[in-house]
């Protein structure tokens, strides 16, 4: 059982990571980040189930809280950027450089 869950978690994580690296749309990148977080959550919960203690599940809750907070801040930034630049592409927001 555990192995299947972990494989699924790995696949989800890789999809999320590839999405972050490849996609340009900030909203999609954002969703991919969520995907990576949830892949981790899945792994935590899996291990919690396997070892029969609640630590993993507690961590999963923390991750959700953090993810929620992140969405609040992140979406606000994305909306602001979109308003000023008329674009939600992460490549267009490239002024903060050398």
């Amino acid at each position: 059982m555990t192995t299947e869950y972990l494989v699924l978690s790995g696949i989800l994580f890789v999809i999320g990571a590839l999405g972050v690296l490849i996609r340009r749309n900030a909203i999609v990148v954002f969703m991919c980040v969520e995907l990576m977080l949830n892949a981790c959550n899945l792994a935590f919960v899996t291990f919690a189930r396997q070892w029969g203690n609640l630590d993993g599940q507690i961590i999963a809750f923390f991750v959700m809280v953090v993810a929620a907070a992140e969405v609040v801040v992140g979406l606000a930034i994305i909306v602001t950027i979109f308003r000023t630049r008329r674009s939600a592409s992460v490549d267009d927001a490239n002024l903060l450089k050398y």
């Binding site: 972050v20 490849i22 992460v90 490239n94 903060l96 050398y98």
Partner: protein, 633 residues
Amino acid sequence: MQTPTDIIPHTGGVIGVAWLMIALPLLGAAVLLIGGRRTDRWGHLLGVAMSLGSFVVAVLALVELLGLGEEQRRRAIELYDFIPGMVKMGLLVDPLSVSFALLITGVGSLIHIYSIGYMAHDPARRRFFAYLNLFVAAMLLLVLADNYVGLFIGWEGVGLASYLLIGFWYFKPSAAVAAKKAFVVNRVGDFGLLVGMFVIWTTFGTLTFKDLDVTGASNGTLTAIGLLLLLGACGKSAQIPLQSWLLDAMEGPTPVSALIHAATMVTAGVYLVVRSGAFFFPVGSGASLAVAIVGAATLLAGAIIGCAKDDIKKGLAGSTMSQIGYMMLGAAFGPVGYAFAIGHLFTHGFFKADLFLGAGSVMHGMNDEVDMRKYGGLFPKMRITAITFIIGYLAIIGFPLLSGYFTKDGIIETAVHSDYPILGWLAVLGAGITGFYMSRMVFMTFFGKPRWAEGAHPHESPKVMTIPLIILSIGSIFLGGYLVVNQTLYHWLSPAVGAAAEAPHFDPFTTPGLVTLAVVAAGVLLAWFMYGRAEVPQTAPAGNALVTFARRDLYGDALNESLFMRPGQWLTRLAVFFDNRGVDGLVNGLAATIGGSSGRLRRLQTGFARTYALSILFGAALLTGALLLVGNL
């Protein structure tokens, strides 16, 4: 040979307040310098009064000393603990120091008075008198201190006063440069004196004359100390090899040349040699021979330089070098020669001050012209100046029965009868050259046809200037005979400096004495044919190699330049190069490397969020891989 008598502690009386001699002019200098312009109106009078006050104290101290027995004439008074455990400051009042004090304050006062007239039109006259007073105070400290530390403070004090007075007209670049040169050259000598003092301290554990006992010290140590002190003496007294500053020092006002650079300060070296006699006269010590050689070499060099100078003051400066050479030569032979050396120092103080002030008086009447080729025929225009100058002239060439005759002849006799008669005969030759250049000076200045510049109206100087001249010329006539003929000075000084096995007897009819007279007469005659009878051209003729050699001060400056100045410049350039390229290069190079590499590293910040994400991924993968690896180990 008999050593000096013991120094006896003293309290009370005039000698007990001998410090007043130093304090009075010091107070004068302080009032004039701090008081500033408020003292302009009466500053010169205060200066003269303070100098005269010192003179009075010196005379009273002399009277008190004369009242004591010969064996008790070295009195030391204690003032305060100067450097606890090392030096107690005190004054040594003995025949030698009182004689010097009398010369300094006596001639000094006359020159103060003369300066009232000479500097009358100078807006900075008050400052001039402040410096003169400072000089008198420092010089008195030099001769009165009962230890080498006090002597050294006075030594530096007169150096400072000399610097300030040479550069008195500091707006003239030549004067500013001359002052600096005098200061720098004197530092070399002071270095010698200072190291000498260090060696004395480490060897004998005291710097006080009273406690200094050289018996038991090795000859090598004594010679080393003697040579170091001689280096100091050479600096202050403008002896070879440190002679180069004196000729340039003539940039100062003429009274300064008379007081500091002829009569008193430049003789400090002779004082040092005589006062430190113990280091020069153990049997077999080489230091006294070095003194004699320095003296003989300088007396010839100064005389040769004097022959070629058209600037009347520089001619006299060469002459001063030469005469101090005589004193050094005399002082080199110990108690036999001390009386003559010190005697010559006193008579020279008078006749050279007389000559310098006379030259100043001539310049005063000739719109500050110093070129003797622009003088000529001045005798009828300024009779008092001319007559006093000629008296000084006769005294310096050793005209029989005038001051210089007795003392110079004494030195020559001493040298001829010493172990090194050749030095004595060189001194005879020097006397001949002296006769030549001094006659040249007199003929070119006072006789012959006038060669004055346009607009010159030669006139006699005011009484305030001529009266000191008259007093000095009277001293130039009689002082030598008084000091030497009955061995007055010898007996007076011997408690302080030691006595010879046999008192030196003055006898004019010896071979060296007669030869000297003949040589001097030949020099005077030669000068008469070249400058008295013949026309003197207004511009100096080119002259042969020897003349150029003398005009260029025997290439002394060129020698210093090539030996010390240029290597010094190379050294500084090397240091600057090392600093710029080495030290700065290291620091700048380091900064440039860091700056450059950070400039390149900066390029990593592309601004593309996905690039960062990729590097985070790689980083995370790397960390994970590493953890896995560590976990498996």
